[in-house]
């Protein structure tokens, strides 16, 4: 992905580690050929992005944000947000009932009676399915 350099002032944050954690950081720093502070910064930024995305998904699922709002909150595009919701199994598309209503709308708009027939049949099957699950 092509990128441009963003110049922004940085501020220092202190992180306290145990001896064991510090040794692990040192090992990884050597393995990655990156200074420890650069490595820590990379992980923090990746973690922040991940957490913001996760929280945005939660807020969407709770109905507190819509797609654009969730994307803006997570700092990603709407397309990425849709992919992330799909990946997590969070429904964001219209429901089956809305889909069937949409077919009726299209049938009226474009004078296609066959869409009304298909909509009625899908609606009937969905109702049967719901009735069967209720019985179970």
């Amino acid at each position: 992905m092509a990128t441009t350099q963003v110049n922004e002032e940085t501020i220092a944050k202190e992180v306290k580690l145990t001896d064991t954690e510090a040794k692990r950081l040192k090992q990884l720093s050597q393995a990655e050929h990156l200074p420890e502070d650069a490595l820590l910064r990379k992980w923090i930024l990746e973690g922040l992005d991940r957490m913001r995305l996760r929280y945005a998904c939660t807020l969407y699922e709770q109905g507190r944000l819509n797609l654009s709002g969730a994307a803006r909150y997570a700092g990603v595009g709407v397309e990425r947000m849709m992919q992330e919701l799909t990946r997590r199994g969070i429904e964001h598309s219209p429901s089956v009932a809305q889909f069937v209503d949409g077919l009726d709308t299209l049938a009226d708009l474009f004078d296609m009676d066959e869409l009304h027939t298909a909509a009625d049949e899908v609606r009937r099957r969905e109702e049967n399915k719901a009735a069967e699950s209720a019985q179970c």
């Binding site: 990128t3 109905g63 654009s68 889909f99 474009f110 066959e114 869409l115 298909a118």
Partner: protein
Amino acid sequence: MAIGLLRGSVCIVLTQRDLVSGRPTGYNSLVDKRDAALDASFWINAHRASLVEFLPDYFNLRAPTAVIEEIEYLLPGVVQLTPAGESLRQWRQAGRLEIQDPTQAVDWFDRGENAAIALAREQGYVLLIDDQAPYHLAKARGLKTIGATDFVVLVYADRRLSYDDALSVLASLGTAEHLKRAAMTAVGLLARQRSERDGNDTGQ
């Protein structure tokens, strides 16, 4: 299509739709195109399923600035648009899509959805949207609302997609599995109706 006898000769009356149906190439739409307000979610889904090329045959597309900005969104530091964003930019530049903003905003959701809903509401346009909550509210407020899944079924019903292609397009949409299954059922029902009407196998 209707077939009857007129003074001893066979008279076949074709509707406009019969003339359009089954046309293999060079589709010349005879349907009355509708004005439609586009939301980002619909465009992204339709682009993902390679459906966007069918849109101008049915709709005069209008997109508010806020929706354009959402689709052509660039992350800080990134200079390359997503494929859906790049495609929209090309459509815009080619004049295949008109930018139109509502005069009065609504404040129900976020900028993009608000603008698309407000435009559809004040101009009486169809709203093309694939985001559940705004879809629901727009519908409840009396707007004619269509999702990408509906659009696949329309294109199939209009014989622009084969049965197999319609199923494959539905599978590639970024929508819930049970919604895809419902749409596949609708396509199957249409295929059966067509088969019964035409007296041949439609490939189902």
